[in-house]
């Protein structure tokens, strides 16, 4: 007999025929049918959050007030209620955040009755830990310094974030449990293999793990989930009139950080944000979507990727995100 056959047959002997032939009773099959893809994604994320809570000593959940971390908070409620969250919420405030998002962040944390820790880049700048070329420069990449300082201050061994693999090609290759060395660096070459849904959460003191429970969600999944769960999101996600400048291939919101340069003119048009981040580099898109249903319709038919449309800092080079991540970005 072919050795391969012997090997395999040995391996699968004594399996009842009903299991091998995949023939569950019709009634049981119907139960599984009722679950849609959002339920599958939700259940996977809850499982991941509970693994973090059970195996990590001192985790934190990164909450920015953006849509992805809003979804994370609902998933944490689903994972841990009626108990409290087994971790605090952590926000790295660049000082360049949209005021309505900061207001929303504080209100949401209070509603949940969970602890919110804010560490601000202003402090890192005052302490001389972050040195910027100019006041108006994008602060996105420098968040890493403040984040790593916060991780050291509170001795967090795991940080839960709302990053998704569909966002960017460096993200596409990252694990759900992503190991970082003591400098917070991601080494794409030496990632731990991640099989089935058995997660290796072990770290040495000083190292930590970034955990991405919604790795497998797409932008559309996030909006469909927000609709299903009737979650509140900051108003800037909906279409509104705003002064913007056309620069490069994108729109930039006029603010105290961004003013028209020579030859540019501010226009007042109907826009919304697809992501909320650093005000100096997060671009709104032209849109008339005024509610979640309209956002879903728009997301389902958009022809531009989320980051391609909205993040100037991702366009500086083919590998911007990869480079930021290697330096500790989440």
């Amino acid at each position: 007999m072919d050795p391969l056959l012997r090997n395999v047959q040995e391996f699968i002997t004594s399996v009842p025929s009903s299991v091998m032939k995949n023939e569950p009773a019709a009634s049981k099959r119907r139960i599984a049918r009722q679950l849609g893809h959002l339920d599958a994604l939700e259940s996977e994320a809850i499982h991941i959050l509970r693994e973090v809570a059970a195996e990590c000593t001192n985790p934190a959940l990164l909450f920015s007030g953006g849509k992805d971390s809003i979804v994370l908070l609902r998933l944490a409620e689903k994972a841990f209620r009626p108990g409290r969250f087994p971790f605090p919420l952590l926000h790295i405030d660049t000082g360049h955040n949209f005021p309505e998002v900061i207001e929303f962040r504080d209100r949401r944390a209070q509603q949940l009755g969970e602890r919110l820790i804010v560490r601000s880049m202003e402090d890192s700048i005052l302490q001389g830990r972050v040195v910027l070329r100019s006041e108006n420069q994008s602060r996105n990449a420098f968040q890493s310094v403040t984040l790593l300082d916060a991780i050291a201050e509170f001795r967090f061994d795991a940080c839960i974030g709302g990053a998704r693999r569909d966002e960017e090609k460096a993200r596409a290759k990252e694990r759900i449990f992503s190991f970082r060395d003591e400098f917070g660096q991601w080494d794409p070459k030496s990632q731990r293999p991640e099989l089935w849904d058995i997660y290796n959460t072990r770290v040495h003191p000083g190292e930590n793990i970034r955990v991405f429970p919604i790795s497998n969600w797409t932008e559309l999944d996030v909006w469909e989930y927000i609709a299903r769960e009737e979650l509140e999101v900051p108003h800037i996600y909906f279409a509104h009139m705003r002064d913007v400048i056309r620069r490069g291939s994108g729109l930039l919101p006029v603010s105290h950080l961004v003013q028209p340069q020579e030859g540019e003119q501010a226009e007042n048009i109907m826009v919304r944000f697809r992501t909320v981040g650093d005000m100096s580099c997060t671009c709104p898109v032209e849109s008339t979507a005024r509610d979640i249903g309209e956002i879903i319709a728009e997301t389902a038919t958009t022809r531009i990727t989320e980051r391609g449309a909205t993040r100037m800092d991702d366009q500086t080079s083919d590998a911007s995100m990869e480079l930021r991540k290697k330096e500790g970005y989440f």
Partner: protein, 428 residues
């Protein structure tokens, strides 16, 4: 009425698949073609690859650039094991685990395959069934991927010959017959020209089966999960200890297989203590019945000592093994070879225990599929071993239950994941 019926479910499903093959087989072109023809490529991505194609002095669009790697990979000529890609059609959502083809193939394919419902094995029509195709089929059967598609690509280079296609199918079927790969579909295609990927094209009129996309959209996946045996590894114990919930003690976890209803008799393993399900609690209210793969919180009628690592099962029906020893197929993933003198950690469901490899029965030569006697397992080796654990594990054989039959091996010193294991049935 149970709350489960109140949840509004959408009927779109999620299919996870893996593509097995090397760049030479046209794998990147196939993935690019699937994304392009299903209109899943965004304009900014398309303009970026159009630009790169031109810069490299070529015409049109090189679809393989869509799966181009990271800077680290380009600079160092390495490939990072698995990249995940997402696309959707009106009928289904898809997750592709895209694994690079050449070196470290075993490690990469096993990793990608561990969560896949379906594998596409690419065969170059000019070359036919190669050792590599046998290897892919073996790994697919080892990891127990329920569905297999044999994509006979580059049909344009063999004049779309029906004869060539049928000969390859026969070769593959002869070989695969012994692998118990039940659901195999064969599709002739040209990923380059787009024949039989999303569109049927005009050159393969003699082929009456489904085009690849039609198959991906319709292959039944709802019974890939074991719905017979209820398995509930406890992840966390919830004790809010607030005034109104003073006595609440909930066991949090995910139904890994089977289903559970309020009132069902259950047993806690490894202790063997028995009780009944009192409530199934979710954030959205209590429900009467839960099914794999739902994450839920269970309460039971009695006060028992239950903690993380314990497993709840139904008293009736098949019961998992509680054992300190088992045999397993081990896929070694680490550059540091297996050292039989050393203790490792085994993580299986929610348990982590110390373990020793007490015996290596053989290594499988994945090119010839012969068994070889070896002293150790090196990176990318697959072998059958015996393990002895410090504490008992609650487990099933892998082929019956992937969730309770799989485990990872962790090196205690550097904390790396060094192996993936699949538990073998007990020998008589």
């Amino acid at each position: 009425m149970s709350a489960i019926e109140n949840i509004s479910f959408d009927h779109a499903e999620l299919l996870r698949f893996i593509t097995a093959g090397s760049v030479d087989d046209g794998k990147s072109t196939l993935i690019g073609r699937l994304l392009h023809d299903s209109k899943s490529i965004f304009e900014d991505q398309l303009s970026a690859i159009t630009h790169t194609t031109r810069r490299r002095g070529m015409e049109g669009i090189d679809l393989s650039l869509l799966t181009d790697g990271l800077q680290a990979e380009r600079e160092q000529g390495i490939t990072i094991d698995v990249a995940y890609r997402y696309f959707a059609t009106p009928k289904r959502k898809f997750i592709i685990a895209d694994t690079p083809g050449h070196e470290q193939y075993t490690r990469n394919m096993v990793t990608g395959a561990s969560t896949a419902n379906l594998a596409i094995i690419l065969i170059d029509a000019r070359k036919g069934v190669l050792t590599q195709s046998r290897r892919h089929a073996y790994l697919a059967s080892l990891v127990g991927i329920p569905h297999l598609v044999v994509a006979v690509n580059k049909m344009d280079l063999v004049d779309y010959s029906r004869e060539v296609f049928e000969r390859i199918c026969e070769d593959f079927a002869t070989f695969a017959g012994g692998l118990r790969l039940n659901n195999i579909a064969y599709i002739p295609m040209s990923a380059l020209n787009g024949d039989m990927v999303v569109e049927r094209g005009e050159k393969l009129g003699w082929y009456k089966g489904m085009a690849l996309m039609d198959l991906l959209e319709s292959v039944p996946i709802d019974h890939d999960i074991n719905l017979e045996d209820f398995r509930f590894p406890v992840q966390l114990v919830c004790r809010p200890q607030t005034e109104e919930m003073h006595d609440f003690r909930g066991y949090m976890g995910r139904v890994e297989s089977g289903f559970i209803s309020v009132g069902d008799a259950v047993k806690v393993l490894p202790s063997g203590l028995a009780s009944r399900i009192k409530e199934i609690v979710t954030y959205d209210g209590t429900i009467n019945r839960a099914v794999a793969p739902q994450s839920i919180t269970l309460t039971i009628e009695d006060h028992l000592d239950i903690s993380r690592g314990d497993m709840l099962v139904k008293t009736e029906g098949d019961i998992p093994r509680v054992t300190k020893e088992f045999e397993a197929m081990l896929c070694w993933l680490s550059e540091q070879s297996l050292d039989p003198r050393r203790k490792y950690l085994v993580k299986q469901t929610t348990r982590v225990v110390k373990a020793l490899v007490t015996r290596i029965d053989y290594r499988v030569d994945i090119n010839t599929l012969n068994h070889e006697a070896v002293e150790t397992l090196k990176m990318n080796d697959i072998g059958r071993v015996a393990l002895k654990m410090h504490q008992p594990l609650v487990c099933d054989q892998y082929q019956r239950n992937h969730a309770t039959g799989s485990f990872i091996v962790i090196d205690e010193v550097n904390n790396n994941t060094v192996a993936a294991g699949m538990i073998c049935p007990v020998k008589d």
